[in-house]
């Protein structure tokens, strides 16, 4: 028993001796395990939160929207369901009136004039049963509010624009409404207007009100145009959808059917969890692997320092079990601290990720509990590593004869590792210049492990920052392309397709605040190549002086389709090729049919949005819409700003919305700024990991080479010079690790840009980008931080006990 107590006391002294290293290595393990747990927790959180939120608000399974401007009398859509064969599979249904609108939510200091969507539903029970409204702020509507000028606004619109919980807005037509609060509803969990731009919560308003109020405000008294349906768990949704579609069509009205999975909000919310998780998983795994390698290397080196003591114990007949106890106890201390740090880091990173998620994906229910199950297994690995790392040198030591383990001086001299490789390669400089290279090659396993560990975390850093740069770069390129030479240009969306000389349209050009104008017709189209790509084609006068799309390189033809690079790549076409375009052709004042035409790809434009496409105004003949437009580009007149134009045009009947051309890009940029800030905080952890590993490595290297340093000092070599050699050695590690990490990181950025983002955001043509700031951060921190780590040992160098160190045998 006594001997065990002695061993415990001894290990306690070890802990006191190595406490800085023990804490630093435990932090390495903690950051590795905590980052892994924190980053990978998000998938479970999102899955649980999505399910809980969608269940709470009872999202529809099938949505049927009447085509175009069509509507039916209230009750007729529900009545149509009554006649279908599989009525038993229908769990619930609700009629709605859904219409685009404009919202003026301007406050004293800020002009907020945005397009939006008005959703009128039955509020007899306080709100719809399907696609319910969750009141996040303010108060709910009641049955008494039916028909009253009172609405709810989408909560994320309120939050993004810092609007009060309740207040007043004005909508198209000039009617002033009271909004009672901010609500969340599944269709607005992700704000994706017209399936074109994501994260549009700042520039697109959801207005939720009673069916009666919506009918009155839109002038569609007694009408509905939207039906949402839930299906029983044993029901076949496709069958139900087809039967309802037939039933409505039979009443002479066209209908668009959308399943829940096709709803862009649902798709991005639910289906992208796995894609996002894949990305976070790779990042987290690399951080974890880097930390594991780093910790293993450092603990092994720490334990190897006891090699001779192990030999002495063997010579004294101590059993290997007891010999192993001391280093293992140090390992246990590191392991325990590592787990504690891991939980702390995990919670901290989790909180950071939570704030990202809550900002980007506002949901009624966010379940973000610490994922103990997930963390448990990570902690097990984090706990086991120190034991293995500590046991490895013990295992090696007990396998040799005791006499070899306790041998000192020249007899214990170790091999030169790979140093002989350099023997025949003349390096410039004196022996001081050679030593850092030789020292690295003397212990290749150690050097490689240190390098790879730092490289792994550097790869994550490059991957993280590079991905952010690529996203931000795409947004910037989009904003630049859209702004062109008219950065204040507004895109005025008309109430429909109107003659350019119609009085309503002329009123736009005649407004006091409006300067130059030009017209465009925006149509939905489809092109077919290697794959099928949906396009939003703007047909405009390419010679107009207000704005033209910026072309990459030369045009192949004067007429034709101007595609984005992303679309051309996905279609497998180049400039000059001919492709099949399916486009609308006007058949009457408000009716269109679809036709196919062969079109030349005239040029590529700079906008990274894949769906953005342009054609010259000769294409108006192709769609039989000469002299018609649904878009007006307008520059503010001298002395006026964009807000003045928006305010003046808001009152015009012909105007559906007026937005700065760069509004979406600006809003996305603003959102990304928050996102980037938080990801940079995560990147800081990664960086701290690299610095900790470099510091520990430098510190242990210093101890391993104390006698060499002492010999140098005995020969009058200044501390500065010895330190310089250590810095050079670490610089070599830093350069190698950063280079490998840079390569790995670029691979990750490539994967994010070309694989992950392609699946989650197919409509954004991302390109791999690394900003000068990122490059500076990587070089500055990856190389400099690692290089200067030995500076922390300067105090110990200065105060080294030279006589004692020189006489030490071990």
């Amino acid at each position: 028993m006594k001997d065990w107590i002695l061993l415990l006391r001894w290990s306690w002294r070890d802990l006191r001796k190595y406490w800085v290293k023990v804490i630093a290595i435990a932090l390495v393990i903690g950051i590795g395990t905590g980052s892994y747990a924190g980053l990978t927790s998000t998938a479970n959180w999102r899955r649980e939160s999505n399910t809980a939120s969608l269940d709470l608000l009872n999202m529809y399974d099938i949505r049927l929207q009447l085509a175009g401007e069509s509507s039916m009398p209230t009750g007729e859509l529900v009545a149509a369901i009554g006649g279908i064969e599989h009525l038993g599979w229908v769990k619930g249904s609700e009629e709605r009136l859904v219409r685009p609108t404009q919202v003026d939510a301007s406050t004293d200091g800020k002009t907020i004039l945005v397009p939006g969507l008005m959703v009128g539903a039955d509020i007899t029970n306080g709100g719809p049963d399907i696609n319910g409204w969750y009141i996040e702020t303010g108060s709910a509507l009641t049955a008494a509010d039916r028909g009253a000028p009172i609405v709810l606004l989408d909560y994320s619109f309120l939050a993004h624009n810092d609007l009060a919980a309740s207040g007043a807005i004005t909508i198209s037509g000039g009617e002033e409404l009271t909004y009672a609060g901010g609500a969340m509803t599944p269709e607005f969990f992700m704000v994706v207007p017209d399936n074109t731009s994501t994260f549009a919560q700042g520039t697109y308003a959801g207005v939720f009100t009673s069916l009666e109020t919506a009918q009155r405000l839109t002038g569609m008294e007694g009408a509905v145009n939207d039906l949402i349906v839930t299906v029983t768990s044993d029901g076949d949704r496709d069958v139900v959808a087809a039967e309802i579609e037939d039933a409505i069509t039979a009443r002479g009205v066209g209908v668009d059917v959308m399943m829940k999975e096709d709803d862009p909000a649902y798709r991005i919310l639910v289906e992208d969890v796995e894609n996002d998780q894949e990305m976070f998983g790779v990042f987290a795994f690399l951080i974890f692997v880097g930390a594991v390698m780093g910790a293993f290397n450092l603990i092994t080196r720490l334990s190897e320092a006891q090699r001779r003591e192990i030999g002495i114990s063997m010579a004294l007949g101590v059993s290997p079990r007891k010999i192993a106890l001391r280093p293992l106890l140090v390992g246990a201390q590191i392991a325990l601290l590592g787990v504690v740090f891991g939980v702390l880091v995990g919670v901290l990173i989790g909180q950071l990720m939570r704030s990202v998620l809550v900002t980007f994906l506002p949901l009624p229910i966010w379940t973000t509990e610490f994922q103990w199950n997930l963390f448990f297994w990570v902690a097990v690995v984090g706990f086991v590593i120190p034991f293995f790392a500590a046991a490895y040198p013990v295992w090696r030591a007990v396998r040799v004869k005791p006499i070899e383990a306790i041998r000192t001086g020249h007899l214990a001299a170790r091999g030169g590792g790979l140093a002989p490789l350099l023997k025949r390669i003349p390096l410039p400089g004196d022996t001081f210049a050679q030593l850092p290279f030789r020292n690295l090659l003397r212990a290749p396993r150690r050097a490689i492990l240190t390098t790879l560990a730092i490289a792994a975390v550097m790869a994550v850093l490059v991957g993280f920052l590079g991905s952010i740069d690529s996203f931000v770069g795409a947004i910037d390129r989009g904003a630049t392309a859209i702004k062109g030479d008219s950065p204040d240009r507004l895109v005025v969306t008309l109430e429909g397709v109107l003659p350019v000389d119609a009085p309503g349209v002329a009123a736009i050009a005649g407004a006091d605040s409006v300067g130059e104008t030009s017209f465009a017709l925006q149509i939905g189209a489809k092109v077919t190549g290697d794959e099928e790509v949906d396009l939003l084609v703007e047909i405009l006068d390419l010679d107009n002086e207000l704005w033209q799309p910026a072309i990459i390189g030369e045009s192949a033809a004067e007429r034709g389709l101007i595609l984005s690079e992303a679309a051309a790549k996905d279609l497998g076409v180049a400039v000059g090729d001919t492709i099949d375009l399916t486009h609308p052709v006007r058949t009457g004042p408000t009716t269109f049919t679809f036709a196919g035409s062969e079109i030349v790809v005239a040029a590529l434009h700079e906008n990274p949005l894949r769906f953005a496409a342009y054609m010259d105004d000769s294409a108006l003949e192709l769609v039989n819409a000469v002299g018609l437009a649904n878009i007006v580009y307008a520059n503010p007149a001298p002395g006026y700003g964009a807000a003045d134009v928006q305010r003046e045009l808001f009152a015009l009947d012909a105007v559906s919305s007026a937005q700065k051309a760069s509004a979406s890009a600006d809003a996305l940029d603003e959102l990304m700024a928050q996102f980037v800030g938080i990801l940079q905080a995560v990147a800081l952890f990664v960086l701290l990991l690299a610095v900790l590993m470099a510091f520990n490595s430098a510190s242990i290297s210093f101890e391993e080479r104390q006698r060499e340093h002492a010999t140098m000092f005995a020969y009058g070599v200044p501390v500065k010079k010895a330190l310089r050699m250590a810095v050079v050695e670490n610089t070599l590690i830093g350069v190698a690790a950063t280079s490998i990490g840079f390569g790995g990181g670029l691979g990750m950025v490539w994967w994010v840009v070309n694989v992950t983002a392609k699946e989650t955001m197919p409509d954004i043509g991302l390109a791999m980008e690394l900003s000068p700031t990122t490059l500076g951060t990587i070089v500055g921190l990856g190389i400099l931080a690692v290089a200067v780590a030995p500076v922390f040992t300067v105090r110990r160098m200065r105060h080294m006990d030279l006589p004692g160190t020189l006489r030490v045998m071990e």
Binding site: A413, Q434, Y715, G716, L806, R807
Partner: protein, 241 residues
Amino acid sequence: MTTCMAKGHTMIELHKVSKQFGNGVPIVALADVDLSVKAGEFVVVLGPSGSGKTTLLNMIGALDNPSGGSIVVDGFDISNATRKELFEFRRTSVSFIFQSFNIFPGLTAAENVQFGADATGRDGVDPGLILESVGLGERVDQFPHELSGGEQQRVAIARALATGNPVMLADEPTGELDFTTGVQILDLLQQQAKEGQAVLVVTHNREISRVADRVVELSSGRIVSDGPPAEGKAQLAELHW
């Protein structure tokens, strides 16, 4: 090869040097030591463990500070020198040979010797020639782990020679070597003294003192005798241990 002073010139001068360790009850390592060593002298400091001989060597080599007294080496008073001056002093005046050699495992024999020259900033030193002079002409490209103990100590001596410094300080240079190799090392050290270096060897091996020009015997930190070997200077071939 070495920058030696004329024989007979005083290279090491200690006056009333003392050294105490510990904060509570002080341990006296050296007490009132007076000693002088001339260029070309081969002096052996003899004494049992704990007699203060290594402490004395460390003081002379400016690895440690005396508690009292003065030490002048190569005309430089190191007793009150600054840290920077001590580094400079070690670089230009003394060279060390250690019991456990302390040669750099990452450098070849020639490179270890070159290190000595580089440390002092000497140009034009041919490590091959120096290694040849210590009998390692064929081993210049070997790494330390490829050399025997005696060879490693000879590399350490060659490194000390490469500094060109006038004072050579050796702490138990044969301590880890067998008899034959130990004698070879002593031969090398004797040669350096003959060439004009002041060579101070610390040992507990009384047999080694027989080949010294002078033997300084220490006991409990005090010099108890100082003079030629009691039985006259012996030849290396007469040694045995």
